[in-house]
Symmetry: D2
């Protein structure tokens, strides 16, 4: 096992995530919808304190006829947003045919929940030196999640940030059941930084701020939050996307 | 519906639990094992800051041949411990044939997870004026839990403290999956105080302190924790029972 | 352990359920709604081949303001229906204050899913000689279900019929997830007869006939089915209640 | 939606799977372990009535240090086994870099549970004309599974065989919870043939025969079963692998 329970930091540009860093706030829309939208949101989330920008350009959608993201065009818009704001960018890779482009342009490559067991993709990103954001699978056990990280580490890359995003249970009041206990467990078992996604973890705007506090209180190394200047107009995940003012309050309320 | 989303306090002797109180710490052994044991533990948990004493005298055990608790004899020992320490006592009622005795002697009557759907028992305790600690059922939905509280309220008693204690999922690293999001949800939906049981919620000593912090951070009105002067000798639940020194650190670490 | 993996039959009047019997068909409405209704349904289900009559008189309802059943009045109507048709009757007991009446009047006492962990009630029915229909708890493990039966057996009663009725999972296309593998497992582990409830197990009329076939194919000793002469008018569970003609086809299609 | 609820057959060589076919029996080892092993097993399963041969050459393993399969070498051995026995072969594709080879050599391309949400891979196999065996994801909902098939169909390929293989629940007596109700549901919703994998569905040798009967009784179009000439020596999944004699009895006991 390459992941030997030693504490590790992950470095993204000048940001340190993990044992020696302070909690990172990654914010932005579910999907990049257009050039103006992502630039406007990037400026706004930076202004209220976010340290990195998220935005999906390839979207894994259950229904193949739903909006699939802007693809590489969307990635160019994220790069513009980065240039303007200085925020490092995080976006999801679903298909290794775009890996070289992602390695060249993206700061953190996200592996989404649906691909946590996609060992071919894990190996492919493991062969790069890029920071990887590895989300927990929809119903992955702790052991499977550790092993998914190990698939990446075995291929040579230990720059891995883990992300708890809720697990699938019988409960339907929330979109998923946020398993915060996974935060201290995964930190201890892998030594890797662990962040929390309260947006997918709850699926409800009104729970994101309070669960962010709980996440930081149990040791999360950061948060990834869906935020939008006009949440009600977001093309995807609007029920769990907060507005900028809420994000400001959320960040101000954290003991950062 | 009697539970009209107004915030309520529950009063137990001089302790106020809920919107106007500060977090309550209920600590003690899983089972009352004998007179000396419960008195010793009561003194110890009080000394480190606990405000109420827990201890099972009727134990709901999966295996009918396991230790079933000391019964009414155990209750007398708890009363002695209360007399010595002044700590109000919480213990579980499983059978309404003991209801009158409990009403007479116990400060808070606990309805355990296995009986959350036992509507006959809910109605019976609802017809008293005693504070009730209503644990979430093993796999109860938010809606079912709200309705279980309503069964009690409908019978006339709104002195209800809700307790999140983890739900049953596929994950087996922990005994249950602690659903902290239930804390803000249940407070908002019922107006009742909500406490958290990190002992059953995680099933592991090493996770109790950190998850207690997260519970308080998302608004829990208190904690119920299995603690023992000699956890390794506890007759039940020893894997999730902490020692007194750990309890002291835990309480000191909370923003109470 | 009293349940020593020996095969047992349960005898209800002249009906033998288990290793030496042929599959029993228990049919009738979710709730007894009135005298005429239950008598009409009893005649109808008997005519198409049912061997016992089901009908709830005390109904465990999530919402305390929903219809709670006709109570003892409903039980009298069931007895009339029995007198007319000769069908033995099965109905659920929720509160042991009615135990003596049930022992006197009911042929099979049902313990519902919500009360599988109600050990006080299990012990109470275990102290009688009545056949008990023990439904699996909403999210009970195999082990917990075996132990619930053992709670009854330990009190002296081994006349237990187990009933698989679906378990709670993340899937919401069906009301529950019918776990048919529990049939051969429970037969082997306890020696008791096991029947299947495809009504609660699926929650959908259109799946009851086909899943009944599967249940019998893997060794079920019978079925318990919600059937009504006017399913759309049923006061409870109408989505999973079949009409008499469907019941006739279902029974004809089984290899009885 | 391309899958318009019309009944479809899938043709694999001379075998018809679906509405116009009789149940297909796909049998063979979890992993191809060597040339002699797979040829011996292929002959044996053919002799007792299997109609297709299964065997993994690329194995998705949770632990990256476990045996990963023989790869393309293993595929050559399967082709030899096919040549000798005439049995069409089914094997899993995990990485689209091998897609052309699979299209050329394999009769049915399996998409395993871990890759049901791997939409890049679904699209890739959707662009071929090969029959695809699409296993249900580990905790996929009915809706997600339908949509995964639709991802393939949208890309142009409707030669899809669905496979129920158990879902992840809290129950740990079995490896997964076999959801047989999915069989009639998926047939109705998609018109595609649906087969059942009782090996992964139960994880236990002693349950495979009985659950195969139940699967066929509720309309399954076939079974896929792990079988080995020396199950105790199998390098993977031996607890759920049956011997040839058991497979013979199983097939003889089905109403084929």
């Amino acid at each position: 096992m390459r992941l030997l329970k030693e504490d590790r930091n992950v470095r993204v540009d000048s940001v340190t995530i993990g044992i020696d860093g302070k909690p990172v706030i990654i914010a932005g829309p579910c999907s990049v919808e257009g050039r103006d939208q992502i630039i406007e949101i990037a400026k706004a989330v930076k202004e209220v304190g976010a340290t990195m920008l998220r935005g999906g350009v390839f979207k894994p959608r259950t229904n193949p006829y739903d909006f699939q993201g802007l693809g590489l065009e969307g990635l160019e818009y994220m790069l513009e947003a980065k240039k303007i704001t200085g925020l490092p960018i995080v976006t999801e890779l679903m298909d290794d045919k775009y890996l070289d482009i992602f390695v060249d342009k993206v700061d953190v490559i996200q592996i989404g929940s649906r691909n946590m067991y996609n060992y071919a993709l894990l190996r492919a990103v493991g062969e790069t030196k890029k920071p990887i954001l590895l989300k927990r699978g929809i119903s992955a056990t702790i052991k499977e999640w550790i092993m998914a990280a190990e698939h990446i580490a075995k291929a040579g890359n230990d720059q891995i940030i883990l992300c708890e995003r809720g697990i699938r249970t019988y409960e339907d009041y929330t979109r998923n059941t946020l398993d915060l206990t996974a935060v201290p467990i995964m930190k201890r078992e892998t030594g890797l930084p662990v962040i929390v996604d309260p947006s997918h973890g709850t699926g409800r705007r009104d729970l994101i701020e309070v669960m962010s506090k709980a996440a930081i209180a149990c040791g999360a190394d950061g948060l990834i939050i869906e935020a939008h200047t006009s949440p009600d107009l977001a093309v995807s995940d609007k029920e769990q996307t907060i507005d900028i003012e809420t994000l400001r309050q959320l960040i101000k309320g954290l003991p950062l």
